[in-house]
């Protein structure tokens, strides 16, 4: 299959564990989707910004602080928490 992507790499980036059948299925579906986009990309359109997706500054919010959830509510929706913080498996960024 001449696809412009690597299904194993994509699955890894998306944190998905796929079976061989799923890989084949999603590869073919992704190819179809990319085909649609290729058709769009091939269309001869002027290279301008889409006005329909442009807003002016009226669409901005004013710098007024609003309500917060509170640490109790934030931690309640997390699988695990401790002392008002969300608890996750150890991620190491520092010198080791």
């Amino acid at each position: 299959m001449a696809e412009g992507f690597d299904i194993d790499h994509l699955a890894k980036l998306a944190r998905l564990s796929l079976t061989a059948e799923e890989k084949a299925l999603y590869s073919s579906q992704l190819n179809q989707i990319l085909g649609h986009f290729q058709a769009l990309a091939d269309a001869d359109l002027p290279a301008t910004i889409d006005d329909a997706r442009v807003v002016n500054e009226d669409a901005l919010r004013s710098d007024e602080p609003g309500l917060v959830l509170g640490a109790e509510a934030v931690t309640r929706i997390a699988p695990a928490s401790r002392d008002g913080q969300i608890s996750v498996p150890r991620v190491v960024d520092d010198e080791s």
């Binding site: 980036l13 919010r61 401790r82």
Partner: protein, 501 residues
């Protein structure tokens, strides 16, 4: 700074992340600030909960545009936001909202000043080009505890302007000078506070080396998350030496992400977030492209303060200030404006005013306030003039009294201290303390003539008459002594010149 062997050249580019001075977050209305209990400044939009939509904060956009105007960038007609996708717990919704293709600031430059040969001498000036700056959201803060990590999302969603330079910097000293200049510009325009201790300014530092004269850039490394000017300087010195060592040993440089251990003074390779460079950016479907009106740009342009080096040139060239005083004043906009108000009240001696402001006033303000933290450990934190007991016109009054020789420079110090303590006018203090100098010409003439007649000063008189101007000073001491320091120095000088003719 000249630890680089002359046949190697170091090339540095910086990515400076600055938290903008706003009250609410950049895409949400949650407030933010330093020192709050964990997760107390979080709302559903920050967490990206289902059904929420981000809306861009006007103030964050305007502060970004203002920065663009400060560095002379052309403000684009449009800007837009993209999703940068990655899984990491500091990021509550698995993507960060940022600007990839259409950032809010494009181009511009920052003037820098390198250290001179001594403190009194101005160093070389250079311009460092800004590639672009984009407005994005900050991420949460991780701390590591035992076998797990803890996440605080208070910082997530704080407006962050990432300022990216061209690879124009050529030494650790230039990197340092750039950051000083940038911090001064950001704070003076009110764009950001740049408080290092609160993590409001963090820096990624790209370093590569090449043979001097080579066109092609060498392989670079990126040292991430530096939170002080000294860390940036030390990283450049360390990374330059390391890369030279590698290349001279016949090895090659690996393009890698590194960290910096400020305590141990050494860098280390970061274990990369898996596939961290594959962010699969795409335009954020929730935030429409923003059209930036020219009216807004014109309104913000009026808020751009005088560039600090333009101000410094004006002080030295037009007001005749010594470089040392000028360079201190221009670093702090409020202080410079305070100084200018004093000059307006007494325009004939800007240097006299500058010296009092840059030395005595700053010293006493710092002592009375206790300095707060700044990103730059080498430069004292900005002092607060709002609580200054002396008003600009009052300081001008003190300098005027000295210029008119009503009091001596020595006495001016004493009066200044009293003014700082009480907030009284200089003239009132001078009168209350009976400091007005003796300007009785008749009595002074007699003393001057007696001193001139003293054989002990004959040699100095001969030297003065032979053309050595400075020799006249040897006669002033004895006259001052006889008047118990109350004689007017200007009058003494006039009388001496008259009698020695």
């Amino acid at each position: 700074m000249s630890n680089v062997p002359s046949d190697w050249e170091v090339v540095i580019g910086l990515e400076v992340h600055v938290q903008l001075h706003t009250r609410a977050k950049v895409f949400a209305s949650s407030p933010w600030g330093f020192g709050k209990a964990p997760n107390e400044q979080v709302d559903p939009v920050v967490l990206g909960l289902p059904g929420t939509l981000p809306v861009v904060n006007r103030e964050a956009v305007e502060k970004s545009i203002l920065f663009g105007l400060v560095v002379g960038s052309s403000v684009p007609e449009h800007c837009s936001w993209d999703r940068k996708n990655y899984f990491y717990p500091d990021n509550p919704k698995n993507y960060q909202l940022t600007q990839k293709d259409f950032p809010v600031v494009v181009g511009g430059q920052v003037e820098i000043e390198l250290p001179g040969a001594s403190r009194n001498v101005m160093g070389e000036h250079k311009f460092i080009r800004i590639h672009h700056a984009h407005l994005e959201e900050d991420v949460g803060k991780l701390s590591h505890a035992g076998s797990g990590s803890l996440v605080d999302y208070n910082r997530a969603g704080v407006p962050l302007l990432e300022i990216v330079t061209e690879p124009d910097l050529r030494s650790s000293a230039e990197a340092e000078a750039f950051l000083r200049s940038l911090v001064a510009m950001l704070t003076q325009a009110g764009v950001a506070d740049c408080d290092m201790e609160k993590g409001q300014l963090r820096c990624d530092c790209n370093v590569s080396i090449r043979r001097r004269g080579a066109d092609k850039l060498g392989t670079r490394t990126e040292t991430k998350n530096l939170n002080s000017i000294s860390s940036v300087r030390d990283t450049v010195i360390y990374e330059t030496a390391r890369q030279i060592r590698e290349l001279e040993a016949g090895r090659s440089i690996t393009q890698e992400t590194r960290g910096w251990n400020a305590e141990l003074g050494r860098g280390y390779v970061l274990r990369d977030k898996e596939d961290a460079h594959d962010y699969r950016y795409f335009p954020d479907p929730d935030i429409p492209t923003l059209k930036i009106s020219r009216e807004t740009v014109a309104r913000l342009a009026k808020l751009v303060p005088e560039n600090l080096y333009d101000r410094q040139r004006r002080y030295v060239e037009k007001l005749g200030l010594p470089y040392t005083a000028a360079s201190v004043l221009v670093n702090d906009r409020a202080l410079a404006e305070w100084f200018e108000l004093a000059v307006a009240a007494h325009p004939t001696n800007p240097s006299g005013i500058a010296n009092l402001v840059a030395n005595d006033l700053l010293r006493d303000l710092a002592a009375s306030a206790g300095a707060a933290g700044s990103f730059d450990e080498a430069v004292p934190a900005q002092v607060s003039l709002s609580s200054c007991p002396i008003k600009p016109a009052q300081l001008a009054g003190l300098v005027k009294l000295t210029d008119e020789a009503v009091i001596s420079k020595q006495q001016a110090k004493e009066v200044f201290a009293e003014m700082f303590k009480t907030g009284q006018d200089a003239a009132a203090i001078v009168d209350a303390k009976g400091l007005r100098q003796n300007s009785d010409t008749g009595e002074l003439e007699k003393i001057v003539q007696e001193v001139i007649a003293d054989p002990a000063v004959a040699k100095s008189i001969a030297e003065y008459r032979a053309g050595n101007e400075k020799a006249i000073n040897a006669l002033k001491g004895p006259i001052m002594k006889r008047t118990q320091g109350k004689a007017n120095p200007v009058l003494i000088d006039q009388l001496l010149r008259k009698f020695l003719g």
